[in-house]
Assembly symmetry: C2
Homo-oligomer: 570 residues x 2
Amino acid sequence: MLTDIEISRQATPQPISDIAKKFGIKKDELSQFGDAKAKVKLSILDRVKDNVEGKLVIVTAVTPTPFGEGKTVTSIGLTQGLNAIGRKTCACIRQPSMGPVFGIKGGAAGGGYSQVIPMEEMNLHLTGDIHAVSSAHNLAAAAIDARLFHESRLPADEFTQQSGSTPLDIDPEQILWRRVVDHNERSLRNITVGLGDINGPVHASGFDITAASELMAILALSHDLKDMRKRIGRLVLALDKQAQPITAEMLGVAGAMTVIMSSAIEPTLMQTLTGDPCLIHAGPFANIAHGNSSIIADRIALKLADFVVTEGGFGSDMGFEKFCNIKVRESGKAPDAAVLVVTLKALKANSGIESKQDINLPDQARLEAGFLNLKWHMDNVSQYGVPVVVALNRFPSDTQEELEWLKREVMSAGAFGCEISDAFSLGANGAEALARKVVEATEQDSDFHLLYSSDASIEAKLLTIAESGYGARGIVLSDEAKAQLEQIKAMGLDNLAVCIAKTPLSISHDPLLKGVPQGFELPIAQLKINAGAGFITALVGKVMTMPGLGIKPGYLNIDINERDEIVGLA
Amino acid sequence: MLTDIEISRQATPQPISDIAKKFGIKKDELSQFGDAKAKVKLSILDRVKDNVEGKLVIVTAVTPTPFGEGKTVTSIGLTQGLNAIGRKTCACIRQPSMGPVFGIKGGAAGGGYSQVIPMEEMNLHLTGDIHAVSSAHNLAAAAIDARLFHESRLPADEFTQQSGSTPLDIDPEQILWRRVVDHNERSLRNITVGLGDINGPVHASGFDITAASELMAILALSHDLKDMRKRIGRLVLALDKQAQPITAEMLGVAGAMTVIMSSAIEPTLMQTLTGDPCLIHAGPFANIAHGNSSIIADRIALKLADFVVTEGGFGSDMGFEKFCNIKVRESGKAPDAAVLVVTLKALKANSGIESKQDINLPDQARLEAGFLNLKWHMDNVSQYGVPVVVALNRFPSDTQEELEWLKREVMSAGAFGCEISDAFSLGANGAEALARKVVEATEQDSDFHLLYSSDASIEAKLLTIAESGYGARGIVLSDEAKAQLEQIKAMGLDNLAVCIAKTPLSISHDPLLKGVPQGFELPIAQLKINAGAGFITALVGKVMTMPGLGIKPGYLNIDINERDEIVGLA
């Protein structure tokens, strides 16, 4: 079989204006970025506001493994399959970060015959939204330090006279706003800034990957530009020496940040290999951020399509939990069905059983042990009142016996449906059975409910997610987290949602605990106020908000060839 | 009169595809970015290779002052004026950096009735090229530190086995490659990175503004993508513990960097207020970098237009010197005429005479003293064998007497021509006289010559620029610079050009020396190897490669209004 980039390059994308037209987007609602990408203007929302909304399908997965479960392949394949059976469908997915693209695995545009094309445009700059987030984020960091610098060099009255602003008296030890870059940059995790006689004050800082920026969450959760402007104004950037919050509004930088972000608020239209519409928008990771594409893209797509397929990052404990408790809480649009992606290899790898045998070979013991992980994720999705269709993403080495066994187990465990997906190798045709089952699932009466109420305290919310969301027997707060909890209460922010940052490699906080970890307590190391995004981020265990490059990084393979084409993107 | 952004917004840009068509760019050579911007594919160069080349006009200025001389206003006005008198003309200018846009002065799209529109699109992300430069630059920084990290944690043989590469043994004290961000970020000038037990090794680093990135120079100087790939491979990122250079090629990151930059290599087509074509490409500052837009944009424009108007940043000692000695050396295309922009206010401010009188009022003493600065710049341009047309950029308060006096002085000092420009207030009509004079100037026999030969030693080149380029009586190298000079010789890089980084506020290295400084020695503090760009950068005096935000930064005024429009861009 051809590589992903070969398949992508062999396909001739249809003019994106044709895709838009077929999908119901008017010419003057589109800004083209080359022939294969276009931004969609938000003015469309007003025109289509009375349209009936389509059905919303969320794709999630079992606990991820190094083999790749093919969640995006399934999302794109399902979109292709639904269109193939006559249901007008749009995929809404996140923009890939250059961190993983150059660090680990290559792209995030799907794979095989279920891809968004052209994959190199999707995996690189797209239409610049992540760059806009980085730029707006780092302007705020520069503004904080410039204010510290100027206030430190002048008496208060002279500062006021020269600047036209009263001093903010920012505490350099209490700068909450770090910096961001869209790369895997271990060495920037913890840095000291302001060194040299004329660049101070000296203080600790550090970089997160842009996908973890609160501005990325704001991009994904805003309803329109005015809402984005208000959220940016609310960002808590630092504390003053009386421990009172300094917001972006108080620093006078919220307007400029919004201006930098203003082009990013429009989702980008691309297409699948079969010419189906796909809206790419925002890119928060699901481990260290809330892990779902934008509300704006979903809203546009739901007004134009019969079905919208979106996905939450990593396993259902990560992106799906946040999809429900953060995104749906904000958007008000509950999912009509969930697709839970699994592979035979993923079950074996999640079994917790060590084995030297080739993972592609049949192994009933590992399969049965690993099934418990799948079962846990099925139950997890079901507790939100969403019907679950399990998608068995087939690999060439899979035996019919194993697949049939698994399908029987899944159905007797109470799934609404279970279908084999050949989206990777066959594209739309390979996903038609899955598509039909998903349509059936969305025709059920829905009974969606959130896991916790906004009225509960932050501590109660953390406990609910730990217990009901992960099966923990409780939470343990570090001293730092306890102090931060008091601060949050004092600021009156108890009504915010909660976003857990933890390893995706286990349902627990410990990546070594495979299968269905039990009896563990969830260690809350740190709480971060994200008043603009509308949640408190809880850092759990040893999670880091900036990845590092591995010993054999992905960029080694990436280059241009003699025909000036890009090679090496997976 | 309306503000710049009001004038820009009142104008309805023509569809950029129409501008392209009129200019001779075919539909399939264009990638649209919205309705008002488009990237031009390099395939056009092959199609038009046998076209006769147009005339190249370089716009420069006297020593800059806080009042603004209006160089870009004059460049755009001249482009409008030349088109108005029937000469098909394209402007080729740099992309503005967000540092100044949010820091000081607002935009860099011209002003009044001589602007590139829409000015907010030009001044913000444009088509993402600066973001691409930042991203590629910082990937290399991440790659160096990741390599240091992994090599520091394993014995050499294990590292080789796991990574597939032999150790580079990078000296963490000799990392030459800093990081970049496109903001004014004083506190990131000098930082310590790699802090924490698992993020090391700890070492000094720092950020420059992206305009000073060697990759920005490479973007501006490359002939095509393959040339860019080669240059990126040659980048010297660090030294190993034997003081031998580590290049981007050796680190295996040159291909990926080129891939990130590959979209940026296409210039962006925009339009002036009168619908004339304008190619925006690359954005090196003229103080801390080489200060000129790209060779590729000029090449495309020269094959399609009768006249191409470009500009070098700051005074003729800065951007114009580098235009000749760096850009023309590389492109082989000499300028046919130079336009030297001056205002009455600039002369008074450059007079060196302190005065409390309103600078808008007539002041013959200051005018006469300031004229010496203008005369110096005229002579400076003339020494390259380029005919000089002085453009008197008129302000409303200017008296006819002063303007006429100045014109007489300019002509008797040997200028080819001198015209008043009303481009700011009248647009094309205000620049027609200037345009006619420029046409005449380009009809002269040209006698262009570079200031120094590539064969000269780096030290000799530095001395030539100091003496002939600035009127210094010599150079003084710091101990650090002397050691670096030895290193450069040892590496066999003596044949590179030289790029001086110094204050633009004086012809000398000292911003306080106004008028025509004499008898000074040029202090060379540091030399930086830019083997990819093809020059050695000499840091002169106290120049800094990262600006800082002022006490009343420009971003305070920038916001969106109730109609979601951008306000506050100057």
